[in-house]
């Protein structure tokens, strides 16, 4: 087994002559983080940090893809200094690693904010850190983070790159220089096989492949290497200190549908009030089953359902100006 066609350098963006670029996005975090049941705060232990099974599988897939294309792998992670030992282990595999520092470490709330509230910003930051290495043909992520990420990152990455996306994969192989063939689980033991044109963003399940171990030479080479930190691309939220080179991501509020107001039921009999509230004895429309022809139509059906039942305003559903 040979490593991808790069020497185990930790630093320095290298020339694009070294073949197609595969990026592995790693969310390195405490794999056993605990959530306080009372106040919801998350406590993390720097000793518990590691690659989640999904990220480890993603990294292995990235290495295999790069091998098949004679390419190179850049692994990028956003996080505090405490994740450097893990990145060093990744570098021992012959991967170029880069870390984007984040300012959340001591503050659980910032951490949650970063995770769930501005994944778009996270995607921009990750891609900015990779840009010096060239334009990726393939970005691989794990399909879920152990710390309750939203799972939206791959979609934002694909959007930013103008790339195709295929999520939740169990197998991935190259199909020439233009495409990858991927497999995804379906219900009842079925799998679907897709041919995805490059560039693409793929997320993989933590199954099927095991991350290889680094050679002793690789481990020795990175034993005391520093992990390069990308400070060039600090995307900063309005109001916070700009240009510090540390990732500050503003809190955009998550979208919460409005609650629907139901008038209080009439009368005093608790049983009748309950029946009125739950509508248990009222005749219902049978469930609607529709078979939209494409994704856009499906979205329209869902949105109009939500509008019809008062969850969103009708004008929010209006097709964008200029749309057919």
């Amino acid at each position: 087994m040979t490593g991808p066609n790069v020497s185990p350098v930790v630093a320095a963006p290298d020339d694009s002559a070294a073949g197609p670029l595969v990026v592995a996005c790693l969310r390195i975090t405490d794999l056993r983080a605990t959530v306080d049941p009372l106040d919801g705060s998350i406590s993390r232990d720097p000793l518990g940090v590691g690659l989640s099974p999904a990220d480890a599988a993603g990294l292995e897939q990235a290495l295999r893809m790069a091998e098949s294309w004679d390419g190179r792998v850049v692994a990028v992670a956003v996080g505090p200094e405490s994740i450097d030992p893990i990145l060093r282990d990744v570098a021992a595999l012959g991967v170029t690693v880069v870390r984007v520092p984040s300012a959340h470490d001591s503050d659980g709330h910032r951490y949650v904010a970063e995770l769930a509230e501005d994944e778009h910003g996270l995607a921009e930051t990750v891609l900015a850190a990779v840009r010096p290495f060239g334009r990726p043909v393939l970005v691989v992520c794990g399909d879920r983070s152990v710390d309750r990420g939203t799972g939206a990152l791959p979609a934002f990455l694909a959007h930013e790159l103008g790339a195709a996306q295929a999520l939740g994969l169990v197998a991935l192989r190259s199909d020439g220089p233009e495409a990858v063939v991927v497999e995804r689980r379906l219900d009842a033991g079925w799998r679907e096989r897709l041919r995805v044109l490059l560039p693409a963003v793929c997320s993989v399940e933590g199954a099927g492949v095991r991350l290889r171990r680094a050679s002793l030479a690789g481990a020795l080479a990175v034993a005391d290497a520093a992990v390069p930190v990308d400070r060039s691309t600090g995307r900063t939220a309005a109001g916070s200190a700009a240009g510090t080179g540390v990732l500050h991501i503003g809190a955009t509020r998550p979208y919460a549908p409005r609650t629907r107001v139901i008038p209080a039921p009439e009368g005093h009999d608790p049983r009748l009030r309950l029946l009125a509230l739950t509508g248990a004895l009222v005749a219902h429309d049978p469930p609607t089953v529709v078979h939209p022809a494409d994704a856009a139509e499906a979205a329209d059906v869902l949105l109009s359902f939500l509008a019809r039942h008062g969850y969103i305003d009708a004008e929010d559903v209006a097709p964008e100006a200029g749309a057919p």
């Binding site: 794999l31 056993r32 232990d45 000793l47 518990g48 590691g50």
Partner: protein, 104 residues
């Protein structure tokens, strides 16, 4: 001697599973300890069963031993208390795998 019911320690209100769940195990692909149930069948002491702090040795009805390597402290107690040559093949897990103590 009155031992506890297997897998339970009722006196401090926490099951053995909960106890083991406090420990960080990074399970490797290779079983680092192998137990030869054939040899165990003729063992009268079954010393491993009560001494293993992780409670990994489960006696089977046919006198053998069922062993699962995944939640092992890598302490060495089992091979030290076992008198039967060849019953236990004991190695460390592959580097980086196995138990990780945070509060050792």
């Amino acid at each position: 001697m009155s031992g506890p019911a297997p897998g339970r320690s009722p006196w401090d209100g926490i099951s053995f599973e909960e106890r083991m769940a406090t420990v960080d195990f990074r399970v490797g692909a290779r079983a680092h300890i192998a137990v030869d149930a054939e040899v165990c069948r003729s063992c009268t002491t079954k010393a491993c069963v009560s001494a293993c702090p992780a409670n990994l040795f489960a006696p089977t009805s046919d006198g053998g031993i069922l062993f699962n390597y995944e939640e092992c402290f890598e302490c060495g107690t089992c091979y030290m208390v076992c008198d039967s040559e060849g019953a236990i093949t004991w190695t460390y897990p592959d580097g980086g795998h196995g138990v990780v103590f945070h509060h050792g």
